[in-house]
Symmetry: C2
Subunit: 307 residues, 2 copies
């Protein structure tokens, strides 16, 4: 096998009470990529469609993660990468993670899978760092492993796969506005009340238990973020109205995807997830802000081979 | 059935990263109590052995929880309570919770179980409040449900039963010193660093996952408390030496039981738990402070009928 086409999915990080550690993987949104073995050594990006991104491997997220893996292997050939980008950079649903994951996943397949998924995360994190200026695996882990992932630690990398109930669906709205990473970081408090922290870990522990037991009621009761959302939601126009409409329409919960501007909701059926889509659409249509909406089953497979 | 003898177990609350929400139940330490239906109406404490506690029902933890239940039922008889107290008050392993739980559990059995365990917790919490000046269920929940419990919320009461791996054992040392509740509360910071809070909920989520998957390695990697232990451990003489000895002897983790002075450790076998006991004993024997040590399997049953 000398060439592989893969689908690298969008992902949601900072899942409410699981801020900075819990993420999940989407099914219906993602990038396509082609990875090809070449006689020419090194990593070469030969095609980019969808968005205007650099072709220089060391300036491109997919290229940097590919280079990190390439340095760890000893081969007398190289790789070409084609990127068909569907996830808009800066959307808050893991655009850079999809790129970073796609190249190393594809290369690993062509090499006969010498690396496990945690090791692939380790390479991909170098690409992610190019985009987000820090090493984090919140989006990489769900993109690679699928389902829900808990990044227990970054150094050493420790990723836990949390089970996902069968009928869990996400509705995601992406308002077409830009939130600067620096701004979304600066708005976070350095210190928080101990009582809020306790509420947060009670909810987070409950959410992990609820995912293990497929307890949708408990998922709903646990999907609260009393620490970060009260601050960051101010950066997303009409966040509260969207949340209210989503919950009224039957969503289990609603929160900021990554550091925004996308907003995610979770529902216990496709039907509800579509109702939530309509309800959110109704709110945002009146704002004058352009937006995209996606409905997706939780993708338990993660990045995958198309052909 | 007019009389019942029950065993009401000691418990560990504030389990490391699960501060204020996670507790577990012990097997080898606990109080015995006799509950008896009487023609005379009301709640009457007729015998107390072990420690000097008030006989007036409204001044006694077991009495107050019994009165709370008694007010919720409409019967033309009363109850007598005998308390054979083995758990020293103020030890940090749920002495008041055992009393509060025992009376309502026994009465409920004699009444034909009109109440579920969450409702029993609601009555017992009134007794617990007498002892600890605030309503909390951290010890009540594991005493009633057994195993590991997560108190998701107090109002409304929501208690989750977390699975417990088969070979989990606890070693508990109780240094015979007094820590004032006011002091152990005052030493807690009102605010904590967001980064510490994130570490805590990453660990707590991981611990819940580890208990679900019987992953002893992950239990070990998750049993850390970066928020409360650094402060409260100062109130417990030789805490760090005990912890070091326990971990060296093979314990999965070590922390403060409740608000101390007891220290708990968890191990993945009876043999290791006994080794940990020897190691801790060796540390404390040199200090001149009197102590008791218990080794106990995790009690998955909770409070139970003896006869």
């Amino acid at each position: 096998m000398n060439e592989i086409k893969i689908f690298s999915p969008a992902t949601v990080a900072n899942v409410s009470c699981g801020f900075d550690v819990l993420g999940f993987c989407l099914d219906s949104v993602g990038d396509d990529m082609v990875i090809r073995k070449t006689e020419k050594k090194g990593i070469h990006i030969t095609k980019i469609e969808g968005f205007d991104l650099p072709y220089e491997a060391d300036l491109n997220v997919a290229g940097v993660s590919a280079l990190a893996m390439y340095e760890a292997i000893d081969v007398d050939f190289g790789f070409e990468i084609e990127i068909y980008k569907n996830i808009k950079p800066g959307s808050g649903i893991g655009s850079s993670a999809a790129s970073a994951v796609g190249s190393v996943f594809g290369m690993n397949e062509l090499l006969g899978r010498p690396f496990n998924k945690t090791q692939l995360t380790g390479f991909a994190i170098k690409g992610e760092a190019l985009a987000s200026k820090c090493e984090h695996a919140d989006n990489l882990a769900p993109a690679l492993f699928g389902g829900f992932t808990l990044v227990k630690s970054i150094s050493p990398l420790q990723i836990l796969e949390i089970p996902s109930p069968d009928d869990l669906y996400a509705t995601i709205i992406h308002p077409q506005i830009e939130i600067k990473t620096s701004e979304s970081r600066a708005i976070l408090p350095k210190k928080i009340a101990l009582s809020d922290a306790i509420t947060q870990w009670a909810n987070f522990g409950s959410l992990i238990h609820a995912l293990h037991t497929s307890d949708y009621d408990l998922i709903k009761e646990s999907l609260h973020d009393v620490v970060v959302e009260p601050h960051r939601s101010k950066l997303i126009p009409h966040f509260n109205a969207v949340k209210k409409a989503a919950i009224t329409a039957g969503a289990l919960g609603c929160g900021i995807s990554g550091s925004g501007p996308s907003i995610f909701t979770l529902s216990n059926s496709l039907e509800t997830s579509n109702n939530v889509k309509d309800a959110i659409k109704n709110v945002y249509s009146k704002t004058g802000i352009a937006f995209e909406i996606h409905v997706s089953k939780i993708n338990t497979e993660g990045v995958k081979i198309i052909s």
